[in-house]
């Protein structure tokens, strides 16, 4: 670990990515993702890595896909809008069983379903990590690369404008310039001519007409892998004051930090309110949410949209407590999902109105 520095979220995440072993990045500028791309462009050459200012999001994800096949840790990213363009590739990359980290610096919270339901065609999910602030983003970026490699799957880090542009004091890990270990499935051309050249394909491997080539079996294996992640990835959650809470409020990401702060202040003022902040949005920490809400009379969900994560909270609590949606779409004229609706007094008021 290096010294503590005051650093913008975008730069902190870029530094954490390179420190985690990321050696390829491709992206297309779009607010509030742009600064992450700029920092990757500045940092990756320091470790002989490659950053591409791709001509489009379609090409950015394609380039990252290609880089990932070589066994080097690769990443891309955008906003939810750009992620819409990338979904076709992200679905296929998932079935090709490739590690990839996707930084989604979203505009507001309208893209929860896009992030957690697979987002593209096909029957798949991605691991999704939602940091609330810069120090947590540094930790989760490292975790994202670890998980991507471990599970051979795309992992999304879901941030937003606040995360991208807030400066905080953090210790950013130093870069390891040693040549990374390349996994055995990775391509470098060397098995050509051996009679058993490798293939990386969303349609599976094997030689056509021979045993082992079976698209149905491949899709079944992909489905089994999604299921293995659903049960095998450790769900992460931050919860507080739930033991004696009359109301627990759920929220995620930067907005989760506003809600958490509102709850801390309401606690200081003597209100029996608790908070739950899912950190892995997929797999959703259903058991922990269920447990945290089980002692309270009511649960509420605050998110800056028409009500998306509220579905997951309702599924997690399975009718054991009433779950009320107290969020709503952003009023922000900039389109970036920053205020004026996201403010502690407004959130506090909604919480107090919902108290049983």
């Amino acid at each position: 670990m290096s010294e503590r520095v005051l650093i913008e979220g975008s730069e902190a995440m870029a530094r954490a990515a390179v420190a985690a072993g990321c050696r390829f990045f491709a992206g297309y500028p779009m607010t509030p993702f742009t600064e992450l791309l700029e920092h990757m462009a500045g940092l990756l050459p320091e470790v002989d890595g490659v950053c591409m200012n791709a001509e489009s999001e379609l090409e950015a994800v394609g380039m990252a896909w290609g880089a990932a096949t070589t066994g080097h840790l690769a990443a891309t990213g955008s906003t939810g809008q750009g992620l819409s363009l990338m979904q076709e590739s992200l679905s296929e990359i998932t079935n090709a069983r490739l590690p990839l980290v996707v930084f989604n610096m979203a505009r507001g919270q309208g893209d929860y379903f896009q992030a957690t339901r697979g987002g593209g065609h096909g029957d798949y999910r991605h691991i999704v990590l939602a940091p609330m602030d810069v120090p947590e983003a540094v930790e989760l970026t490292q975790l994202a690369f670890d998980m991507a490699g471990q599970w051979r799957t795309p992992v999304m880090v879901l941030g937003d404008y606040y995360l991208a542009h807030t400066y905080q004091a953090v210790s950013v890990p130093s870069f390891d310039t040693a040549a990374p270990e390349v996994p055995n499935w990775a391509l470098d051309g060397s098995t050509g001519g051996s009679g058993a050249a490798k293939i990386v394909s969303p349609l599976g491997g094997g030689v056509e007409g021979e045993e082992g080539f079976d698209l149905g079996a491949h899709y079944a294996a992909c489905a089994a892998h999604i299921q293995a992640m659903a049960t095998g990835v450790e769900p992460l959650i931050d919860a507080g004051f739930c033991e004696d809470a009359e109301l627990v409020v759920a929220a995620y990401g930067s907005v989760g930090k506003f809600v958490r702060y509102a709850c801390l202040r309401l606690r200081d003022a003597g209100h029996r309110v608790g908070y739950i902040r899912p950190i892995t949005l997929w797999p959703f920490p259903s058991e922990a949410v269920h447990k945290a809400a089980s002692g309270s009379a009511k649960a509420a969900v605050y998110e800056q949209n028409m009500g998306q994560m509220v579905d997951d909270v309702r599924l997690a609590t399975m009718g054991t407590v009433p779950v009320e949606f107290i969020g709503g779409p952003s009023w922000d004229h900039s389109g970036f999902g920053i205020g004026p609706d996201i403010n502690v007094p407004d959130i506090s008021e909604r919480i107090l109105e919902t108290m049983p």
Binding site: R4, V5, L6, D133, V134, P135, Y162, H165, T166, Y167, Q168, A169, S254, K257, F258, R260, Y261, L264, R265, R267, D268, I338, G339, I342, N343, V344, P345
Partner: protein, 185 residues
């Protein structure tokens, strides 16, 4: 139980582009880090580099910061100019600390609600040879008055904050910080 919020101190700065508001926020924040504290900074400014509104928020604590990047109340404020200060005016907490640049600030302050420290920052900076040093003077006053940042911390913070192409200003900035610190005695 001690509230995790008890140790957090907020500072909001307002001014017009070109007054060094963002730099002052950086210097105070970097200074607090040099002193070993936890810090959060969130800045916003209009499209114009010079003359537009510019605000910044700094939160300082001995513990990990609980505050989100946008505050609904602040313990302290630095008012470099009155032009865009209306939104900030209502956020200053009762019993808070307000530093005002009396050289240019022309508006009424709610003096019964908080402690006001008058700093003719632009005049002092002009005497030091450059009116653009006003924000550094203010940062020096703030460090000592708030008790949140040491002079050594401010100087170190300034060195970390000044971009390389402005390195010729480091000495003058240091003098302005020291002057502000001295004025707050």
């Amino acid at each position: 139980m001690n509230s995790p919020l008890a140790g957090e101190r907020e500072l909001m700065l307002t001014g017009i582009g070109g007054q060094g508001v963002q730099l002052a926020a950086q210097v105070i924040a970097q200074g607090a880090i040099a002193d070993g504290k936890e810090v959060l900074v969130f800045g916003s400014y209009g499209g114009m580099m010079r003359g537009g509104n510019t605000d910044s928020t700094v939160v300082i604590s001995d513990q990990p910061i609980e505050a989100p990047p946008v505050l609904s109340a602040t313990w302290s404020a630095i008012l470099m100019h009155h032009q865009y200060w209306a939104p900030l005016r209502v956020l200053i907490s009762d019993g808070g600390l307000v530093l005002v640049n009396t050289s240019v600030f022309e508006d009424q302050l709610d003096r019964d609600r908080y402690r006001v420290v008058e700093v003719p920052a632009t005049d002092v900076a002009t005497d030091l040879g450059n009116p653009l040093l006003a924000a550094m003077v203010m940062a020096g006053v703030y460090g000592r008055t708030s008790g949140l940042v040491s002079l050594d911390g401010l100087v170190e913070g300034m060195r970390r904050s000044v971009p390389p192409y402005r390195s010729q200003l480091i000495e003058a900035n240091e003098a302005a910080l020291a002057k502000g610190w001295e004025m707050a005695a």
